[in-house]
């Protein structure tokens, strides 16, 4: 069987595909690659269907060894990539021979690189997905040094793109949002969301925690638990918002002031602690 050996995981490496939507009514989060466009691009580059499973590597440091010839691509933020001692680029398909090692350095901007492999990672799906959900503990365990990941059969040919440009990662993000569902629970919400917020180190795949001038409540009643979705900006009593990412709980008991437009979720997934973020109603 074709396998990919994990030589080093780096700070955190997780198997991710496009997630397991459709189970929120059972309390199961959607999960999946936080920067889904990056995983899709990587899969296209190596000739996989877009929903094949790859590896989401936090802050680089990942090294893998091929036991059989395969095509790989690294996407997400721009990152130095080596095959054995030879430097190759990210955002391009690279052929690995059996025994060769591919290693990612640390990206200079952004958080999450994606490694796509021809055939995709073929661990057993759980509820239709191979994504690790860090909130619920569903899906493949976080990767450890020395584990071998099975690869699926190669189904397509690598895309012929010569150069794919890595996305720009601005130091300050202006994020479009749709106000609601509970915008009327706040005073001066548009102004409050429009302040510069700072991403805190407590952020993870569940949500991005923000620090800044607390949002003020007009209504201090207790909110009965209600359904949540990815991109929801939930405001706990502290007034400091949490932007929910893919591993968010499926219901919550604090009001959601606004929801991030889907096109901006990838940029939020790459926002390092310290990044400035403001929200613009659109």
């Amino acid at each position: 069987m074709r396998v990919l050996e994990i030589v080093h995981t780096g700070p955190l490496a997780l198997v991710q595909d496009l997630g397991r939507p459709g189970y929120a009514h059972l309390g199961v989060p959607p999960s999946g690659a936080l920067d889904a466009d990056a995983l899709r691009l990587g899969n296209r580059l190596v000739g996989n269907p877009e929903d094949a499973a790859g590896i989401e590597a936090l802050l680089g440091g990942l090294a893998v060894r091929a036991t059989a010839p395969c095509t790989v691509a690294v996407t997400g933020p721009l990152v130095p990539v080596r095959v054995d001692d030879r430097h190759v680029g990210s955002h391009a398909a690279v052929s690995l021979r059996a025994g060769q090692t591919l290693a990612l350095d640390r990206p200079t901007a952004g958080l999450r690189c994606y490694l796509a492999v021809s055939g995709g990672i073929a661990l057993e799906p759980v509820l239709g997905s191979r994504s690790r959900d860090v909130l619920s503990g569903i899906g493949p365990e976080p990767l450890e040094d020395g584990v071998s990941l099975p690869l699926g059969p190669v189904t397509g040919v690598p895309a012929g793109a010569d150069v794919v440009v890595a996305p720009a990662l601005p130091e300050r993000l202006v994020v479009p949002v749709v106000l609601g569902p509970r915008d009327d629970w706040f005073t001066d919400l548009v102004e409050g969301l429009g302040a510069w917020w700072t991403v805190t180190p407590e952020s993870n795949r569940v949500g991005l925690r923000l620090d800044g001038p607390p949002l003020r409540r007009a209504n201090t009643a207790e909110l009965p638990s209600e359904g949540l979705l990815t991109g929801a900006i939930q405001v706990p009593p502290s007034g400091l918002p949490v932007v929910f990412l893919a591993d968010h709980p499926t219901t919550g008991g604090y009001p959601v002031a606004a929801v991030v437009r889907r096109g901006s979720l990838g940029a939020l997934a790459q926002a390092r602690p310290g990044t400035s973020v403001r929200f613009r109603s659109s």
Binding site: G22, H25, S136, E226, L229, R262
Partner: protein
């Protein structure tokens, strides 16, 4: 009922009561509308998430505008009976606050029929309605950092079972050995919205 926007592809229906939410959920579920990505019931609301490009949101809206929510479709709910060891740490507190004996508190909990209103908190955790008035009690003043898997508790208007070890503030009546969530099972969650549940003392 009031529709509230929730991002580009979803809307949240505010309901005046849990009963109205339950009726709206059952109505949407029974209609089998194409393009619904998620249908997430809450305590007083129903979140409808549409697949981008589908007409599901307007279809749900039209359906509920014309629906008789006082007579929702019955559906075909799953019936679940759970065996419970009534040995919970808060059982005597619950009985005292209800003004009954421990045996009577157990009888109150086992004689009622419950409905899974909504889920959340953790995979497989169902908020069950139908709790007798005397058992509608506040949560603990200070939540436990560790509630064991299978613990059966009450909180406010709900009763439920913790699917796995987690922090929690509900008053604990006992425990069950049943598996509440198994992602590999054909029915991964024992409780799905609309299911009917009974507890049996063993």
């Amino acid at each position: 009922m009031l529709w509230r926007p929730c991002g580009e592809h979803a809307a949240l229906l505010d309901c005046d009561s849990l009963a109205l939410m339950t009726a709206a959920r059952a109505t949407v579920e029974a209609a089998g509308i194409d393009g619904i990505a998620e249908l997430v019931p809450g305590a007083r609301s129903l979140l409808v998430v549409a697949e981008p490009g589908s007409r599901a949101l307007s279809a749900v809206r039209e359906l509920l505008d014309g629906a008789d929510l006082t007579h929702p479709p019955a559906g075909s709910p799953h019936e679940v009976t759970l065996d419970v060891h009534y040995d919970g740490e808060d059982l005597s507190l619950v009985a005292r606050d209800a003004g009954v004996s421990v045996a009577e508190a157990v009888a109150l909990h086992t004689e009622a029929e419950y409905t899974v209103a909504f889920t959340g908190f953790a995979p497989g955790f169902g908020y069950l309605t139908g709790l007798p008035d005397a058992l509608r009690q506040p949560r603990l003043e200070s939540p436990r950092t560790k509630v064991p898997a299978g613990a059966v508790g009450i909180g406010g208007e709900f009763t439920g079972v913790y699917p796995r070890e987690s922090p929690g503030g509900w008053r604990l009546l006992g425990h069950t050995d049943a598996t509440l969530f198994d992602p590999a099972a054909e029915r991964p969650a024992l409780f799905a919205p609309g299911d009917r549940v009974r507890f049996r003392s063993v």
